[in-house]
Amino acid sequence: MNTAINSYRAGPDERGHFGIYGGRFVAETLMPLILDLETAYAKARTDLAFQAELDYWLEFYVGRPSPLYFAERLTRHLGGAKIYFKRDELNHTGAHKINNCMGQILMAKRMGKTRIIAETGAGQHGVATATVCALMGLPCVVYMGAVDIERQKPNVFRMKLLGAEVVPVKSGSRTLKDAMNEALRDWVTNVDSTYYLIGTVAGPHPYPAMVRDFQSVIGRETREQIMKAERRLPDSLVACVGGGSNAIGLFHPFLDDPGIKMYGVEAAGHGIETGQHAASLTAGSPGVLHGNRTYLLQDDDGQVTEAHSISAGLDYPGIGPEHAWLKDSGRVTYVPISDTEALEAFKLCARLEGILPALEPAHALGHVIKLAPTLPKSHLMVMNMCGRGDKDIFTVADALGVGL
């Protein structure tokens, strides 16, 4: 990647590629559906009525814009950079996931689909999908790994209360990647009626670009809000990456501002050296999974290996293809944060800021804790607080050896 890049925001190309990443690696049965979605989304994207409808729901239902909050006590405690949180955990349903779900449910309705399926890891995307399905009166089936069902019980119950059917996935590692396999199998079987509402910037084209566009509201708002608060753009952005949708949502509107450093924080689980982690960009290699080429955790035979993270939302052996390209191009720096570091960040944030972060953004915060003290007080840093931690209290209690 030594050739000069005019814009980091132009991708993907017409075949869905970000450099060598992305693409459409799916079974023939699904190809016509993916092409239909591409055409429908290209129209919706430039349709002012669609945008107006989406804006309406984002404002009055999701509760956008989410605040850009100056974390003063954390800033003072760390003694360096001035830290802002983009408070996407204050959205309806408690995470950024609903930004994308709101956009895609409107796509499903435009396309005349009558049944929605989704995969979920931590359950946040499942809850957000079940929510918009209830709102629009559409039946919803959520595939969730049996292991994740066990560690995210509150979210499973929430989905059921919202009227969704939660299907436990018992194949493979019984986590997010297997839930995605099962959702794809459902889609291959129910092609006429069903819309597959993918929760992150992965899957075949056009999903990575479409989900990014729906999540970019995070970065667009941040731009306006920081200009209002500080009369200038930030110096750095920090967000966690599992599939990478909250991170790309924050980063994308800033990619062509050369002075801004960006950090994507991966889950290092028990530590990169233990092999038990979910850091596909730090420790993986390019491969093809779930419809796109990207960095994967895999063995020498091209078999996908199991990811590990205390955070179910980061427990995925791949990463959105645009992140793979942003890594290779050097525009974004990807760093690992371990389970232990995330837990420490979780505790610190609760006590200093009165916010229980989800374990996913607790990883982003883990990097903020490392980075901020090394930077001058004039440095403006924005971290995406992409989810709230209520869903994680059982996991955290368990990790801290507390019985509830």
């Binding site: 459409r24 690696f25 190809m31 016509p32 020498d300 091209g302």
Partner: protein, 284 residues
């Protein structure tokens, strides 16, 4: 280019079937299931049991188009230590016993991508493989493996499905070589089959677009199912039913029993009888 124009085992086999006035039976066996030597014993026995062409499965951890039966076979095979390299070793050993039955490898792209496309083509052809079916490589990704494979002389067999409409069919068929594999249902492997009428209509539709042999698969479980397909198509593909026969022969711990290879090969014999009798019945 010249490699592809040379008539290969697949063309010779379909020509022979045509001369005999019957359809072929294509069987699927996952390499390494339940362990490597048993899967080889089955592979070696397939031609005599009546398989006209053989699909060998190469497992992948995330087989997104496969139902529970073939997923489980893949997991047993991976646990047994099979790799793409070891699968090609089995192809080589098979070729020492049979020089004419076509062998087609069926799998997903990532293991081939990681093996290296050029290295794979060289090793696969060297071992005696005739073609590949790669589930997650639609025509939109032809640059990856399809075009290099055709160039090297390895057949690239594409899946056509009920969702592949007349507008899309030419693109799907453009770089298909060897034969066309029609997936008779929208669904995963091992699901219920399509009705005879819809299969007949689909074959007629495909015939308008291609002269390549047409094989039909997905949902064919019994000799009668196979016979029904054999009346209208050039070949019937049976996968999950054979894998199920293997699975039910295993002992409590999922290991080979004395009857494992026999369980599979006996079903192949019955399926072959069904296919061979199909057109006779129709005439009679």
């Amino acid at each position: 280019m010249s490699a592809n124009r040379t008539e290969g085992r697949i063309e010779r086999r379909f020509a022979k079937l045509k001369r005999e006035g019957r359809a072929g039976l294509i069987t699927f066996t996952m390499m390494g299931d339940p362990e490597i030597e048993t899967s080889f014993e089955i592979l070696k026995g397939l031609p005599a049991a009546g398989a006209d062409l053989i699909e060998i499965g190469s497992p992948f951890t995330d087989p997104m188009a496969d139902g529970p039966v073939i997923q489980a076979a893949g997991q047993r095979a991976l646990k047994a230590g099979i790799t793409l390299k070891k699968t090609l070793d089995l192809v080589r050993r098979f070729r020492a016993t049979d020089s004419e039955t076509p062998l087609v490898l069926m799998g997903y792209y990532n293991p081939i991508y990681i093996y290296g496309v050029q290295r794979f083509l060289k090793d696969a052809l060297g071992a005696g493989l005739d073609g590949v079916i790669v589930v997650d490589l639609p025509p939109e990704e032809d640059d990856e493996l399809c075009l290099p494979a055709i160039e090297a002389g390895l057949r690239f067999i594409r899946l056509a499905t009920p969702t592949t409409d007349d507008k899309r069919l030419p693109a799907v068929l453009a770089h298909t070589t060897g034969f066309v594999y029609y997936v008779s249902i929208t669904g995963i492997t091992g699901a219920a089959g399509a009705g005879a009428v819809s299969t007949r209509d689909a074959i007629a539709r495909l015939r308008r677009h291609t002269n390549l042999p047409l094989a039909v698969g997905f949902g064919i479980k019994t000799p009668d199912d196979a016979a029904e397909v054999a009346r209208v198509a050039d070949a019937a593909v049976v996968g999950s039913a054979l894998v199920s026969a293997l699975a039910s022969s295993l002992d409590g711990e999922g290991r080979t029993s004395a009857g494992t290879a026999k369980a599979v090969l006996d079903l192949v014999r019955r399926l072959s009888d069904g296919v061979k009798a199909a057109r006779k019945k129709e005439v009679g």
